[in-house]
């Protein structure tokens, strides 16, 4: 494992919202081909962490380094979300953010935007290059829909899909941007147990077949334990533990963080 390259390295990441310190001094790293889970109670700062990494927020402090499998390293701080995506990192959203009145296929096709070139003139004249590119985009998007099992809904509007399918569509759309690192924000939220199992298999397949590294936020502990190689735990914006699922599961601080929360709920 240790021989593998580090794909994403986050150092001393802090994020303040006015007086609220949503993240403080968080370190994270993901190795090539790993599935890493980021867990923690509600409001721990997991989504904020994603938003900082993907350029939606500009972190108050810290460094974010992305290294492509070809070995090119880039500091992501201050880049715009689309530039980050172009570098090879794609994400999904916790509160599903599809393009509701576009079709399922179009949603995925949009993901290819940063990998394609045709411009206004090409669109108007529809020359050979543009047409070829369009066919490639359609085929690729269709393949991705097959991968996530939505190939029967190609022409449906995204908003008409059931919840679980919308989550899978988000994954397909993210994959269309040709990433080497995929960030999934609670992909199993709102899914039933069968759907969750299918999702686990999908995530494994994406890692194995597409040679992807995956960072995953998830509340479903069964899923976290069964698919992740390593787990990072956040609480109140601080990292309290890191290790294999078994190590983290036995960590007294983690147990306290979760049980403490349950005790409050009860």
């Amino acid at each position: 494992m240790s021989a593998k390259t580090i794909v994403l390295e986050v150092k001393n990441l802090s994020m303040n919202f006015g007086g609220l310190r949503a993240l403080s001094d968080v370190d994270l790293d993901i190795l090539q081909g790993e599935i890493v889970a980021l867990i923690g109670p509600n409001g721990a700062g997991k989504t904020t962490c994603f938003n900082c990494i993907t350029g939606i927020y500009d972190p108050t402090e810290g460094d974010i380094l992305l290294r492509s499998p070809q070995g090119k390293g880039v500091r992501l701080n201050g880049l715009k979300p689309n530039q980050v995506t172009e570098l090879g990192m794609a994400r999904t959203f916790q509160n599903i953010r599809l393009f509701p009145s576009m079709t399922v296929l179009e949603n995925v096709m949009l993901g290819t935007h940063c990998r394609t070139k045709s411009g206004i003139l090409g669109a108007i004249l529809r020359d050979r290059k543009t047409r070829e590119e369009e066919v490639r985009v359609v085929n690729k998007s269709y393949e991705l829909l097959k991968l996530v099992g939505l190939d029967h809904h190609v022409n449906d509007l995204a908003s008409n899909l059931p919840y679980g399918a919308q989550r899978r569509l988000e994954i397909a759309r993210a994959l269309a941007t040709d990433p080497f690192l995929l960030l999934l924000d609670e992909p199993a939220a709102g899914m039933n147990p069968n759907e969750t199992i299918a999702l686990e298999q999908l995530v494994m397949r994406i890692r194995d077949e597409l040679d992807m590294s995956i960072l995953l936020i998830e509340h479903d502990m069964k899923m976290v334990m069964s698919i992740s190689d390593r787990v990072h735990v956040l609480e109140y914006g601080q990292k309290i533990a890191e290790g294999t699922p078994a190590e983290v599961g036995a960590n007294p601080q983690v147990i306290k963080a979760y049980l403490g929360e349950e005790a409050v709920d009860a």
């Binding site: 715009k80 994400r91 576009m102 935007h113 990998r115 206004i120 066919v135 359609v138 085929n139």
Partner: protein, 403 residues
């Protein structure tokens, strides 16, 4: 029964409210008071019927929604049936095309002029449709771009004697430049804020044109603009009108062609995505600045071309033609027609321009009818005359069989 009671209530309420106005009439000359009970009856009947119909329509709308969903076979709208039947659609298109082509030979110059205006509004509507309908940027100062085109031609013609055909691309370019100039500072704005800033921009452009006498000749405007010439042949007024008519047909066809292609292209999808969810769109790798600016620039380009034709048609322009009312009217065309729908916007442009022309009797109530129509549409058909989603659905199917 419930509806009946409510309508009855509404009717009584209305009779009560209008009682002093419509029933009592004090004749100050003869010092008598007239009680016009018949009027009250009419008001009551009218209010009752209107309220009843309104309720019925609302109910039907609610029912229609729930009735189509479970059985899965919704009533197929006429347009969808049309697009599922290409030969029929093609023959209808052919009839419309032939009708449009022979129009100036069958009708008077006056009618032809009205049609030219209507077509200018189709182009304006379709242009604004790029910005508002496709990329979802609510722009309220669109008339500024229209003015940019018109004034480009007017001033270039006045000072340098430039001809129509040279001015057309220049006017389009000037408007596109205006689009970019407006686009850059408002990149970060959205929704209401954008609407207000663009409204301000439109007003600023108009005020500059009105007050900068050395540049734009102020409120009196530019007159004596040349009509487009046909290979340096001077045309008569009638001839020029016919010529501009055909020119506009060409421009409308070009606009529809271009927008139709853009709509289903890489850029068009980026526009739609930007409209639907800006954060997701940017996170999927779309450059927000480039995408917005292309939408602004392209939208403005069409306004610029329409402006050049407008100046050539009227041979006289002044800032009064480019007020906020103009922007609002074009926006109304886009909203009534259906955001993003080419056919809908074209139909709405024709309706809004032609109805007032042919219903001169109602001209006093024009704004009233306009408002009422808008309200009715927002309640019963918020997606506009023609919703664009269905068409995309059809397109995808043919596309998929190709790919």
């Amino acid at each position: 029964m419930e509806g009946f009671k409510k309508s009855l209530l509404a009717c009584i309420w209305f009779m009560f409210l209008t009682f002093p106005l419509v029933v009592i009439r004090v004749d100050t000359a003869e010092k008598t008071v007239q009680w016009r009970w018949m009027h009250m009856l009419w008001v009551g009947l009218g209010a009752f019927l209107l309220s009843y119909v309104w309720r019925f329509m609302l109910k039907r709308k609610a029912m229609g929604r729930s009735a189509t969903n479970p059985d899965g076979t919704p009533v197929v709208p006429f347009l969808q049936r049309l697009s599922a039947n290409p030969p029929l659609a093609r023959s209808i298109m052919a009839v419309i095309a032939i009708g449009a082509l022979v129009f100036p030979w069958l009708f008077s110059t006056y009618q032809t002029n009205i049609m030219i205006s209507a077509m200018i509004y189709i182009v304006l509507g379709l242009g604004l449709n790029i910005v508002v309908g496709l990329s979802g940027q609510l722009v309220l100062g669109y008339a500024a771009f229209y003015a940019a085109g018109a004034y480009s031609y007017a001033l270039l013609n006045h000072h340098f004697g430039l001809g129509f055909w040279t001015a057309l691309p220049l006017g389009a370019g000037a408007a596109a430049l205006c689009g970019i100039i407006l686009g850059i500072p408002v990149l970060r704005l959205r929704g209401d804020y954008l609407a207000i800033v663009t409204l301000g921009f439109g007003e600023i452009v108009r005020l500059v044109l009105e007050n900068w006498n050395e540049f734009s000749m102020g409120p009196s405007g530019v007159s004596g603009i040349s009509r487009p010439g046909l290979f340096s042949v001077e045309l008569s007024v009638d001839g020029a009108t016919t010529y501009i008519y055909y020119l506009m047909i060409g421009l409308v066809a070009l606009t529809i062609f271009v927008i139709n292609r853009l709509k289903n292209s890489r850029i068009g999808r980026a526009w739609l995505a930007l409209r639907e969810d800006e954060i997701a769109c940017v996170a999927m790798g779309v450059d927000r600045m480039k995408t917005k600016l292309t939408a602004f620039a392209l939208g403005a380009t069409w306004a610029g071309m329409a402006g050049v034709v407008f100046a050539a048609k009227t041979t006289f322009i002044n800032p009064a033609s480019f007020t906020f009312m103009e922007s609002a009217m074009i926006l109304a065309i886009v909203v009534l027609g259906g955001m993003g729908s080419i056919l809908g916007v074209s139909l709405a442009a024709l309706l809004i321009l032609l109805l007032p022309e042919y219903l001169r009797a109602f001209s006093e109530y024009r704004m009233l009818l306009f408002g009422a129509t808008m309200v009715l549409f927002m309640v019963f058909r918020p997606q506009g005359l023609v919703s664009s989603e269905r068409q995309r659905y059809e397109f995808k199917e043919t596309k998929e069989s190709q790919g």
